[in-house]
C-alpha cells in the first residue's frame, strides 16, 4: 500500500513534467515500434522523438506496453 506521501510525490512529479503540448496515446502508438527498435539497437531516439519519451514517462499504460515490446526485441527471437 502506497503512503499518502508517495502518492503526492508522484502527482507533483507528473505536474512538474506537464508540458503545454503533449502527444496522446494514439500518436505514441503510431511510433512506439520505431522508438523501441532504436532503443534495442542501442541508439538514442529521444532527439528524434523527444515527445514520445515524455509520454512514456507520464502514461503508465503506454509505458507498460513499450516495456513489454522492448522485452521481446531484446530477447532477440525474431
Amino acid at each position: 500500500m502506497e503512503s499518502s506521501k508517495e502518492i503526492i510525490k508522484r502527482m507533483l512529479t507528473h505536474i512538474a513534467q506537464t508540458q503545454e503540448k503533449e502527444l496522446d496515446c494514439g500518436e505514441v502508438y503510431q511510433v512506439v515500434d520505431v522508438f523501441a527498435e532504436a532503443i534495442a539497437r542501442g541508439e538514442d531516439p529521444t532527439e528524434l522523438l523527444p515527445m514520445v519519451k515524455h509520454h512514456l514517462e507520464l502514461c503508465r499504460d503506454c509505458g507498460e506496453e513499450y516495456e513489454a515490446l522492448l522485452r521481446i526485441l531484446e530477447a532477440d527471437i525474431s
Binding site: K5, I8, K9, I15, D24, V32, D33, V34, R60, D61
Partner: protein, 212 residues
C-alpha cells in the same frame, strides 16, 4: 520458417491462397514466441491460464493485422509492428481481468458520493508529517477542488492516485483512451498553472515532501 523481409510479408499476406495461409501460420508462431517475454511481468508461462490467453491474443492479433495491413508504413520491422499490436491486445485483456470487479465509484468516491481526496487529508499520516507538508496538502486539496471538473477529479483519483489503468478508467467513463489522456493532461496543466499563479513551483513543493 521462411525468413521474410517487410515486402515479402506484405506480399504473402495480401492475397488469399496457400502463401497467405503459410504466412499466417508463421506469424502466429512468431507472436506466440514473443508473448512469454512481453508478459513476463504479468503472467508466467507456467500459469494454467497462459496458453489459452496466448492463443486468444495470437488469434485477435492476426485479425487486427489483416485488418490494418494497408496502414503498415514500413518504418519498423513488420514483426515489430505485429508485436506492438499483440502487446496492446494482451495487456488490454490482462488489465480487464485484473480490474474487472472494481468499480470507479468505490475507487474514487467517499460514502457521501464526493471525490475521495483522503490522500490529501492531514489525518492518518502520522505525527511525523511536518507542519509545512500538512499545510501543503490542504493547499493542494483546495486547488484540486477549485480547479478541476468532477470528471477530471475522478480520472486523476482513479488513474493517478489508485493506479487504475487509464484504459480501464476510460472504459468505465465511456471515453476513448486518447480522450481520457487528454482530460488528465488538461487537469495536470490546470493544476500546474494554478500553482504558478500562487507562486508555488511543483519542484519546490516536491522538495518539501522529500524531506522528513
Amino acid at each position: 520458417m521462411t525468413d521474410r523481409n517487410n515486402k515479402q510479408w506484405l506480399s504473402d499476406l495480401s492475397e488469399p491462397g496457400s502463401e497467405q495461409e503459410i504466412a499466417l501460420g508463421d506469424l502466429r508462431a512468431i507472436i506466440r514466441s514473443g508473448l512469454p517475454f512481453a508478459l513476463s511481468k504479468w503472467i508466467s508461462p507456467s500459469d494454467p491460464h497462459f496458453d489459452a490467453l496466448a492463443e486468444e491474443v495470437a488469434q485477435d492479433t492476426l485479425l487486427k493485422v489483416m485488418d490494418k495491413l494497408s496502414t503498415f508504413e514500413g518504418r519498423s520491422k513488420f514483426t515489430t509492428w505485429v508485436y506492438k499490436i499483440a502487446v496492446r491486445v494482451a495487456l488490454t485483456e490482462l488489465r480487464r481481468m485484473r480490474w474487472k470487479d472494481i468499480s470507479l465509484e468505490e475507487l474514487t468516491e467517499t460514502e457521501n458520493g464526493e471525490t475521495n481526496l483522503l490522500f490529501l487529508a492531514d489525518t492518518g499520516v502520522g505525527p511525523e508529517m511536518a507542519t509545512e507538508q500538512a499545510d501543503m496538502m490542504s493547499h493542494l486539496r483546495r486547488i484540486i477542488l477549485e480547479e478541476l471538473t468532477d470528471k477530471q477529479r475522478t480520472a486523476i483519483v482513479a488513474a493517478q492516485i489508485n493506479g487504475m489503468p487509464i484504459e480501464e478508467v476510460a472504459r468505465r467513463m465511456e471515453m476513448t483512451r486518447n480522450a481520457l489522456y487528454k482530460l488528465i493532461h488538461d487537469a495536470r496543466l490546470r493544476l500546474k498553472k494554478r500553482m504558478a499563479e500562487e507562486g508555488l513551483s511543483p519542484e519546490d513543493v516536491l522538495q518539501a515532501f522529500e524531506m522528513g
